[in-house]
Symmetry: C2
């Protein structure tokens, strides 16, 4: 398929524009080079080792993964510095992590004594970095109480493990619509993180690497002086949700990811395209047709979507192709076996998102 024109790709197809991807990775690299904050991009957003390698070539110190299967796949593909930004409470999964190559330095998060004890029983081929996950407003995983976080860090040392830092991610604030709101929320998250840092310092412990942040807040994260590394994921591919955030100071990220679809049927008031619930994620809203301002996507079913025209605009014709900007890139990528990497209208590479549908 290498060298094939984009218009010959069988649809629906996940397509990445390499010029836009390269630009995004370069822009984040430049921002972080200026601030001294390290970059550890989240690979759950793209699942592609080819993208991870590009990020590392532009200064990233390694990647984040969200599942054990992702860690296995990225380590097997040669990524040597991975932070698993998640809790693992299944001893069988910890045994799988313990078996990955000792070429890979692995960090792992904990927020409970039970998980820590299971980790202590694992026998990794290379000593793990233990990160205490703290809840700095995300209301998902993580300890809320700084005293409990200090106590868990002491247990890490008592068990002879290697305490490395704090996982302090607040996913909720990434998507606030307004930049001023995101700035204020990032400051609040940084303040919440500082409370943990101070508790560690008061207890005579070094808090280590503070890891967190994301695409929506990275400019503010870098200015706050709390995070040692940021975990941006979406910036590389982008999506309709992040695009709709009101202007942020700092780097602009281009839309690199689309789902290419074809018109397969034409009715009097709509056309039907071949991209529905199995080709696009809908949790962050409907996809946006690219280059078609007056056309709206709606009524997805498993394998179909409906395009309608507003204000008398012309709908695409039977057989015509449409690029859709997914609402949310991460779960959209996970739906596709292939990612067609294109430049100036030609397929340059075909990538395989890793660890799709396995955990």
């Amino acid at each position: 398929m290498i060298g094939m024109p984009v218009d010959d790709i069988p649809t629906p197809a996940l397509v990445v524009d390499l010029d836009a991807l390269d630009l995004n990775i370069e822009r984040l690299g430049l921002l972080l080079a200026q601030t001294g904050v390290r970059s550890r991009p989240h690979a759950k957003a793209h699942k592609c080792v080819e993208i991870a390698r590009r990020q590392i070539a532009q200064g990233a110190i390694g990647i984040c993964c969200q599942t054990v299967a992702e860690v296995e796949a990225f380590a097997a593909a040669g990524i040597v510095d991975i932070l698993l930004t998640n809790e693992v409470t299944d001893p069988r999964k910890l045994a799988r992590l313990a078996a990955i190559s000792d070429d890979t330095r692995l960090g792992i998060c904990v927020d409970s004594m039970m998980a820590l004890e299971l980790i202590a029983q694992a026998r990794p081929r290379r000593v793990w970095d233990i990160y205490i996950e703290v809840d700095v407003g995300g209301a998902r995983c993580g300890l809320k109480d700084p005293i409990a976080a200090v106590a868990l860090a002491r247990e890490v040392s008592r068990l002879g493990l290697n305490f490395a830092g704090l996982q302090a991610y607040n996913g909720k604030i990434q998507h606030l619509r307004n930049a001023a709101e995101r700035k204020r929320a990032t400051a609040n998250t940084a303040a919440a993180t500082r409370v943990f840092v101070q508790a560690f310092e008061r207890a005579g412990l070094v808090p280590g690497v503070i890891s967190g942040g994301g695409t929506g807040t990275v400019v503010f994260d870098c200015a706050n002086g709390v995070l040692g590394e940021v975990q941006c994921g979406t910036y590389a591919l982008m999506d309709a949700d992040y695009r709709s955030l009101q202007s942020t100071p700092g780097p602009k990220f281009a839309l690199a990811l689309t789902v290419l679809a074809s018109v397969i049927a034409v009715a009097s008031d709509h056309v039907v395209i071949d991209a529905g619930l199995k080709a696009l994620a809908f949790d962050s809203g409907m996809p946006a047709p690219r280059d078609l301002d007056q056309i709206a996507y709606g009524n997805p079913s498993d394998e179909h979507g409906i395009l309608t025209a507003v204000q008398g605009a012309s709908l695409p014709l039977l057989g015509e192709r449409v690029h859709l900007i997914p609402g949310h890139c991460d779960p959209t990528v996970a739906l596709h076996e292939r990612l067609y990497a294109v430049r100036r209208g030609m397929v340059e590479e075909v990538w395989r998102p890793l660890a799709r549908g396995v955990w």
Copy 2:
């Protein structure tokens, strides 16, 4: 993994209860045996050849597929009677269909002259059955005008192709909450279908096999005397959406499909489980925790879901496992590389959903 207890399966995991699956397939088989309507279950709902084989063993004449890749995969797995309930307007995809084994009898839908001309140019190894898709209220694909449908059928014959029948599916009415409403809507759909049948008869054409219907309306479909075959898909696995439909006369289908998840973190007011946007489809609402009436699932992110308790009920503990009933089975199945087929708490088989993320 065969013989493994369900509680040892790595989570999140797609699990099918074989007793419930077998019961559902048997119940639909019995209903249709009584009515004389043929069963052609839709394989897009489960993507598993093991389920298709069970359906055929219980009287189904073959299956429906929704994509060319599904047709290829099910034909390669030995299914010899397939109706592709979709339009194909890409000559490269038609060439792929033309290359499938001549052991398989293939039906294909058309609703445009352009698609029909492309079909006429394909050189299948075995002559295809051409179905004209008609819009009987679904407002998706299909011709709305009976005169146009008759004209397209004449073109089928003129081009030397084999006109086989009408695809007359109305997806919109499957999910109407109330059984009386569904009954009325099914009668309206049958009346709309009859208008097409009469147009064919007036034109001196045999309308052939009329195919349509689904899990939500099958009891009414069978009573209407219009459909020659029904295309139920969900009934085999079931989901929370179909379960919530108000009582229908006729067979009750059991919930056979769950996503098994584990509690990986515990907070003061919620617990976090390891099944989110990449393990469950959310287009038909939140999944329902099974066996946990007072517990609600919410706030999915890529790899996480949040369980909260209503009315002071107890949340599951760290490490505990929870079965979730997906809102919509079709796109949930497509998210998973494996389907664990269990009986009485033990893994009996591990199935691979076919043609996931390819088209």
